[in-house]
Symmetry: D2
Subunit: 296 residues, 4 copies
């Protein structure tokens, strides 16, 4: 195949997509991928909900959260055992739980009977993480780590590819093309906020890019989900942005939920609590139903 | 009042707001301005809709549009007679209609009985524009033209202040403070897209910042409305972003509507047509009702 | 002239420029405007220096500064009497000196015999400001205030047009076209920092865009000068960025100079003192001479 | 060590740096790392130059380039054998030369006697790349791939860490801390352009952030070099930005050089040719000498 790439694309056009990203590109206007992961359908009228803590802090915590989010209607339990940190030091509280975290996730998955999505950061941990993950999460910072993406793709596991906060839609779809190129078709895109010149609080770094939902759906058949927790980094805004995400046409929602948000080990400003989550599920479902979709 | 401004604020904090922008700042968490303009209530459960063409192209066109958007449920007719253009040349098609446009708006307002919002760009045209406008629109490019803002405020007319596409929330609220400072309390904020490192199409310049809706509502009692037409600059994305705006908690929606979008005199990529508008009103109303609000 | 503007330009191409901005566009690769203002040549091998305080705080201060910067080699005295402020309140210290400031500038100009550049913000003050200004400064916030720009252009005075911090090169050149369109040929462009996703200090808002120097010079014949003081907002970085501006090919440099920077009435983090200015003039001249240009 | 990270830093403060990035932080104002790599001193008055093609296209080409850039004064030969590409397809021309490229680099290094810097993208290729590289280049896309950075650090080889185009100074310095944390002290930072809301050509994606040079030097003792070729992506602007980089105080310059730029296999818009490089070396040296530094 003769590929020319004389000029780097800041934006992406359908023509560009069809020649350079043929597997990611829609074949026609109605083309939309629909697939099943652990009994949950993606790309249909259902809008699956991923919920859980930023970090799998302990066995007790993850069991409690798994129980609660499942009973409120979450389809997947999310929780990190491996997590990239901006600098190499770890406090007693702010640290990854790694192998233990994976073990606790496994217990929660089995006892509560809920599928799991969790991040993997290194090829060498793929076998371990694949033991528990129904969906492998590739984090923002690894979005352009193509050898690693390829290794994840080759496991055959469904993959959720988070957009880097400095990434164009074109760069993001190019990374997804690497996964599809390996024959792995169960790819979910996840928007989680982008860096912009002006945020709105000292504590906020990102702005949720909901315009990318219709923009991506115009070009690709892959489901696109939205993570308002990381984008806002601020619990009081999560409800507003979650409802807006559903109304925008997102194909799934990822939320950080913790029983005691101010005491979460990591990023305590952003999780919502059980009651807020339960109420939000109902609100999101009501919005979804006005668009012939549903959350529960 | 002793004001120190040693450091420029990129973001805005509530403390900063309360000392430097005391009139814009909420007095308590439940503080929300509620006022009536030409029989339409802002800041209540109603989400008023502003609809119409980018440019008031002719008497016939604006009468037809006024009739149609009113019957579909619009609360205000929008349409520009004065419009800032990036360079000084005008084609036969791409030009302002100025005094004629104001005259045609007046006819539409009276014959169809619908209140009007239109942009004013110069102090000398304030008397003329005030003859027809129920709300004066201050455009993005004039957001920091403080002498002009002050002159508009002094007319006593309700004012909609559009955010500049390169402006922080702090700069925007500071401009609103200038209006309130003149004793003019009927101020509406309008988000219309911001410049970001990555947009999604060659033809798009802006990204709709819906995160600013909860962020602004956390700080100010003023109603905040959203203009998805200018932000997306792309008709196929307008529905998605309009519904998301309603779900985010916006206090009003501004939409560009034209009977024949591809032949609109200005910005033909962005207006929706009558049928799309009518359907969108129903969809927005359905979303609003899930949040105990309403569009009609 | 038939002008089509179907799509908004995020960037500017030479073809676009030649059709829509014919007066701003270079006629050939070597086309460069060269003109004289009050005995100082712009667009030649000389790199004129504008120096002075942010605010004309008092008669004594501006006389002292005028004397000092002139003896160190400044070609123009800069100083603001009118200044846009983000919110309407003024402290005893942080306020405009307005008519008094203009009067003091006039005294400094006459006693020290140095030409003056100062900002004008309203059409009604044009006659007053034109009494003292050898160059009218149009500030960032007024860059797209086209009626005002046109009024300034019609005075026939040389104009320095500052780039808005959220403005594209295309928007900036379009604003310059408005001035040339009125027959006023003495136009100087001034880069002063742009809003970006990441700045480098809590107190910094902007990033100096030096890449715009060769980019603008590729397209337009107008001189482009650089203001590192406002861009950096941080005195320790001013020298580095001033030297880089000269090396980049800038056609002039604007610097904030104050005898006692920490006690400057406005923006005390950014001015350099007399000694730093004097040393910087020599360093800039040395850099300029390596490129067959000169500062003194 | 007790580390709290309640709020994510958009900017970096010296206090933040000293507690969270103690190895990267300057110990005092005059603290500057100075080290030798293959006989070339970094962090002194010398400003080392890295020059060569984007891709090591063939043995003949790299030998010719090595010979030419060395005779003009380059201190290191740069050239990529491994290169991340935005999508998985490769044309006949646009592809990595991988093991062959490393072999050709080795020949050029030995025959021409010039040290080499080249990118490594995967841990498994570290032994191969370390055979030829005097400096390992970690590319922008891997800046936050912490396990990989750590593996590179452990080789003991000097490392050049490119800044991601969406990265804050804080994120960049945090990544450098990971390398120093492994006991590897020979770390060079490289600025290569950041994503911003407005670039200046359809073909440009980035803006060179020269303000980061004094900003980084205020905080860290590590040398910081600048790559104007990738930042501008446009040959006519490279000279201007290279000279500005030297004047800004950069501790090294990286340039793309190709004998026939329009026919370069990758990114043909950005390399300069031999004559331009030779002239630029002289110009950079002249600028450097005005600041008591030197290029040759």
């Amino acid at each position: 195949m003769a590929i020319e790439n004389k000029f780097p694309g800041k934006d992406v056009s359908l023509e560009d997509l069809k020649t350079k990203f043929p597997l990611v590109a829609k074949k026609n206007n109605n083309h939309k991928s629909c697939f099943d992961i652990s009994g949950v359908t993606f790309g249909s009228d259902l809008i699956p909900i991923f919920a859980g803590p930023n970090m799998v802090e302990s066995k007790e915590l993850i069991l409690d959260i798994a129980q609660n989010v499942k009973s409120s209607g979450a389809h997947f339990l999310r929780g990190g055992a491996f997590k990239p940190l901006t600098f190499p030091y770890r406090s007693d509280k702010y640290k990854e739980t790694r192998e233990s975290g994976i073990e606790w996730l496994k217990i929660a998955k089995n006892e509560i009977n809920i599928p799991v999505i969790t991040e993997v950061m290194e090829e060498k941990y793929l076998p371990l993480v694949c033991e528990v993950a129904d969906i492998l999460q590739i984090g923002s910072r690894n979005m352009q780590n193509y050898p690693f993406i390829t290794a994840c793709a080759k496991t055959g596991k469904p993959i959720m590819l988070k957009r880097h906060y400095g990434s164009s839609l074109r760069d993001w779809l190019g990374a997804a093309e690497y996964i599809l190129y390996e024959g792995n078709k169960n790819v979910i895109l996840c928007e989680r906020g982008v860096s912009v010149p002006h945020t709105h609080r000292e504590t906020s770094r990102f702005l949720l890019d909901l315009q990318v939902v219709p923009a991506a759906q115009e070009l690709t058949h892959l489901p696109i989900i939205v993570d308002p927790s990381h984008a806002t980094f601020w619990r009081p805004w999560v409800k507003s942005m979650a409802l807006a995400s559903v109304a925008s046409g997102a194909d799934g929602i990822m939320l950080e939920v913790h029983p005691d948000p101010p005491n979460a080990a990591v990023d305590p400003l952003q999780p919502i609590d059980y009651k807020e989550f339960s109420d939000l599920i109902s609100s999101m479902d009501a919005v979804a139903k006005t668009q012939e979709r549903k959350v529960k």
